[in-house]
C-alpha cells in the first residue's frame, strides 16, 4: 500500500506527459507554446487545493489542538507556495511567447501573485511568532487568508477586465483531446502534491516524536 501511491503518481505523470506531447492537438494560434498551459493551469489549481487543505487543517487545529493538524497545515501551505511559484514562473514565459510581454496583469497570474504574497506572509508570521503562539496564529491566519481567495479572484477578474487589455484567458473552449490531456496532467500534479505532503508530514511526525523522546530523557 505504501508504494501504491508513489507508483500510481509516476504512472499518471508519464501518462500525462504522453497525452500532452503525443496526443493533444496543437492549438491554432499558439501551436507548441500552448503546451505550457497544461502544467501552468494545473499548478494553479493544485496550489489552490493546497491552501484549502491549510484552511481546513487550521480549523481542525483550533478546535482539537492536534499538533498533526498544524503540521499538515504548514506543510500544505509550503507546497501551495511551491506550486504558486511554478505558476508565476511559467506564466510570464507563456505570456512572452504568446503576447510578447512578460507581464500583462492576466487575472489568473495576478491572483496567484497576491496568493503567493499572502502565504509568504503566513510563513513570515509563523517564523516571527514565539513558539507558544506560533501554531495558533498561523491557524487563524490560514483561515482568514483562504477566505480572501475567492474575493481576490473575482475582484482581480473585474479589475483586469475594466482595463484596455484584450481578454487573455484561453480556458473556455478546449478540444476533446486537449481536455483529457489537461485533466490527466491536473490529476498527476495533485498526486505529486499528495505524495510530497505525505513525505513531509511523516518526517515532521518522526521529528516531533524524537524531540519528545529527547525531552523525556
Amino acid at each position: 500500500m505504501k508504494t501504491l501511491l508513489p507508483l500510481a503518481t509516476v504512472i499518471i505523470l508519464f501518462l500525462s506527459l504522453y497525452l500532452v506531447f503525443g496526443y493533444a492537438d496543437y492549438e491554432k494560434t499558439m501551436l507548441e507554446v500552448q503546451k505550457i498551459f497544461y502544467f501552468h493551469v494545473s499548478s494553479a489549481f493544485t496550489s489552490f487545493l493546497a491552501f484549502a487543505v491549510t484552511c481546513v487543517c487550521s480549523i481542525i487545529y483550533l478546535v482539537k489542538r492536534n499538533f498533526k493538524a498544524d503540521l499538515i497545515a504548514a506543510n500544505s501551505a509550503e507546497l501551495g507556495l511551491v506550486f504558486a511559484t511554478i505558476v508565476l514562473t511559467t506564466g510570464p514565459i507563456w505570456a512572452k511567447s504568446s503576447w510578447n510581454t512578460w507581464w500583462n496583469w492576466e487575472p489568473r497570474l495576478t491572483s496567484t501573485l497576491i496568493l503567493w504574497l499572502t502565504y509568504a506572509g503566513y510563513f513570515i508570521l509563523r517564523n516571527s511568532a514565539s513558539s507558544a503562539q506560533k501554531k495558533r496564529f498561523s491557524a487563524v491566519f490560514g483561515i482568514v487568508a483562504f477566505l480572501n481567495v475567492p474575493i481576490v479572484y473575482y475582484s482581480v477578474k473585474l479589475w483586469q477586465s475594466s482595463s484596455l487589455h484584450p481578454p487573455t484567458t484561453t480556458r473556455s473552449n478546449l478540444a476533446e483531446s486537449m481536455r483529457s490531456a489537461w485533466l490527466i496532467s491536473w490529476f498527476a500534479l495533485t498526486l505529486i502534491y499528495i505524495v510530497l505532503l505525505k513525505m513531509r508530514t511523516d518526517l515532521g511526525i518522526i521529528l516531533h516524536r524524537l524531540n519528545n523522546m529527547q525531552a523525556d530523557r
Binding site: L62, L117, L125, A129, R136, V140, V144, N148, I151
Partner: protein, 233 residues
C-alpha cells in the same frame, strides 16, 4: 452571562477607552496629520507637475488617496495595539471577562472612527494637491464618504485581527507584510469607485460596492469568531 444592555455598555466603554487613548497625545495627532500630508505630497512630487486629462487626474487623485490611507491605517493599527500591550491593558480587559468578540468589535469601531477622522482631513488635501478638487460636487462628496467608510470598515476588520497577532513582536513592517496582500481587494475596489466618483460622479460598476460590502461582512464575521483564539493565553 451578559445580558443585552450589558453588552452595549461594555462595548461603548471599550470604544471610549480606545479613542481617549488615541486622542490623549496631541503629538500623535500632529504626527499622523503631517505624515498623511507628506505622503500625498511625496506622490505628487514624484509624479510631476504636468497636468493630465480630467480622467487621469481623477485616477491619480484616487490612487494617492488610497495609498496614503493604507499607510496611515497601518500606523494606526500598530499604535492601538502597542498602547494595549505596553500597559498590559489587553490582559486586564480579558480578566474582566468581556467576550473576546466584543473586544474585537469595539477595537474595529474605534479604529474606524479614528481613521474616518483622519480621512476627513487627508481627502480634501489629496484632492487639492492633485487638482481634482474642482471636479467634486455635493452629491459626489456623499458618495465619496460612503466609499471611504466601506473601505475603512473592510480595512479595519482584517487589520485589527492581524495587528493583534503581529503587535506582540514589535515590528511595524511585519504588519505591513501580512496585511497588505489581504487588503488588495479593498484597495482595488475603493480606488476604482473613487475614480468613478471623481470623473463621472457615479458609483461606476455596482460590483465594486457589492465587493466592498461582502468583504466587510465576511471578515467581520470570521474575525469575530476567531478573535478569542488570537487573544487567549
Amino acid at each position: 452571562m451578559s445580558a443585552s444592555p450589558n453588552y452595549i455598555s461594555q462595548a461603548t466603554w471599550l470604544v471610549r477607552k480606545d479613542l481617549s487613548l488615541h486622542f490623549r497625545s496631541k503629538n500623535l495627532l500632529a504626527q499622523v496629520f503631517v505624515f498623511s500630508l507628506l505622503v500625498v505630497l511625496v506622490f505628487n512630487f514624484a509624479f510631476g507637475p504636468a497636468p493630465l486629462s480630467p480622467n487621469n487626474q481623477g485616477r491619480l487623485a484616487s490612487s494617492i488617496l488610497w495609498m496614503a490611507f493604507a499607510f496611515v491605517g497601518t500606523i494606526t493599527l500598530n499604535r492601538s495595539v502597542e498602547i494595549d500591550r505596553t500597559h498590559g491593558g489587553l490582559e486586564a480587559i480579558r480578566l474582566t471577562g468581556i467576550d473576546a468578540g466584543l473586544i474585537y468589535l469595539a477595537k474595529v469601531v474605534s479604529s474606524v472612527i479614528w481613521l474616518t477622522g483622519v480621512q476627513l482631513i487627508i481627502t480634501p488635501l489629496a484632492l487639492l494637491f492633485s487638482e481634482a478638487l474642482d471636479q467634486v460636487s455635493g452629491l459626489a462628496v456623499l458618495r465619496l464618504i460612503a466609499v471611504l467608510s466601506l473601505g475603512t470598515v473592510g480595512f479595519c476588520s482584517v487589520g485589527v485581527t492581524l495587528s493583534t497577532m503581529s503587535g506582540r513582536f514589535g515590528s511595524e513592517s511585519l504588519l505591513t507584510v501580512i496585511l497588505f496582500p489581504l487588503i488588495f481587494p479593498v484597495i482595488m475596489a475603493g480606488a476604482r469607485c473613487t475614480t468613478f466618483i471623481l470623473t463621472t460622479n457615479t458609483f461606476g460598476n455596482r460590483f465594486w460596492l457589492t465587493l466592498l460590502v461582502t468583504y466587510g461582512l465576511v471578515f467581520l464575521s470570521s474575525s469575530y469568531l476567531l478573535f478569542e483564539f488570537v487573544i487567549e493565553g
